[in-house]
């Protein structure tokens, strides 16, 4: 039973990840990632990590991915043409990837085949997690709050418009961006066709 659930969730996760790579438009990739996260939340439940599963759905899939989608829509991202200008990536990317794959998968998959994890034999309550956070891991916990502060400030400053740029027309996407984005795509496709 547990194995069946593991395999189902696993297939969904891998399928979502593959779809992420295959899709051309970033919005589909983002949505695929949401799928992966959902499947992973299921895996976490199988491993008895209730708290983690919940915050995975609420925070990761529900907030971070929403942010991604939001940005994709703000930028009006479209499909990006195929040709690659980076010789490096093309040349050694594949071997590196293969190397990593063989190493990691090989090593990880080969190890610990003796240890068996059963359903429900170790369920982690939220209470002890909270306890741990506020006693043992208090310092990192507080530091992350500072981290958030910094990140917040940084995001605001970085994404803010230049003072002398045209003020955003409420709700509308600046036309320059639309045209520029579309023009770039069109020009690239023309070039590709030639």
């Amino acid at each position: 039973m547990q194995l069946t659930l593991f395999i189902i969730f696993g297939l969904i996760a891998v399928g979502g990840a593959v779809n992420l790579l295959v899709q051309r438009h970033p919005i589909y990739s983002a949505l695929s990632l949401v799928t992966v996260m959902g499947a992973l939340a299921g895996e976490f439940l199988l491993l008895g990590a209730e708290f983690i599963a919940f915050i995975q759905v609420i925070v990761y899939a529900g907030a971070i991915m929403v942010l991604f989608v939001f940005v994709i829509m703000v930028l009006n991202a479209g499909e990006v043409p195929r040709e690659s200008k980076s010789r490096m990536a093309a040349l050694i990317g594949l071997p590196v990837l293969a190397l990593l794959a063989v190493t990691i998968i090989g090593q990880l998959a080969g190890a610990f085949s003796q240890t068996a994890l059963g359903l429900g034999d170790y369920v982690i309550q939220t209470g002890p997690i909270g306890d741990s956070l506020f006693h043992q891991y208090l310092l990192p916990f507080e530091v992350t709050s500072v981290l958030f502060l910094v990140g917040l400030l940084g995001a605001v400053v970085l994404a803010a418009r230049e003072p002398d740029a045209a003020p955003a027309r409420g709700g509308e996407i600046p036309e320059s961006l639309v045209e520029a984005g579309l023009e770039a795509d069109i020009a690239a496709q023309e070039a590709a066709r030639r």
Binding site: L20, S29, L40, L47, I52, I64, L67, V80, S84, G93
Partner: protein, 100 residues
């Protein structure tokens, strides 16, 4: 009863797929998404070990990973917005201002 190695294999596969996307994808946002995929793979490994070793610390660690991922996503996306505003393109290859 699922052997630990299955969980680890799944985690590894997700991680590798994330690396593949990180290297081969043209679109800067998709590259970012691949990074998130990598992190998720690692989270799975952490939770699996946490269960196997009967320790809570793995979960705590996943908690912090998610926190970091959130902060990183926020700042990274802000950077992307700023850069795209300048370049008017989402292509990773166009963003080569690190060198003339």
């Amino acid at each position: 009863m699922v052997p630990l190695s299955f969980y680890l294999a799944l985690s590894a596969i997700l991680f590798i797929l994330g690396v593949a996307g990180f290297i081969f994808k043209q679109d800067i946002i998709t590259v970012f998404i691949s990074i998130e995929l990598m992190l998720n793979g690692v989270n799975l490994a952490f939770v699996a070990f946490s269960h196997a070793l009967r320790q809570i610390d793995g979960n705590i660690f996943v908690f912090f990973v998610m926190v970091i991922a959130a902060a990183e996503a926020a700042v990274g996306l802000a950077i992307i917005i700023a850069v795209v505003r300048n370049r008017n393109s989402l292509e990773a290859d166009r963003m080569s201002l690190l060198r003339d």
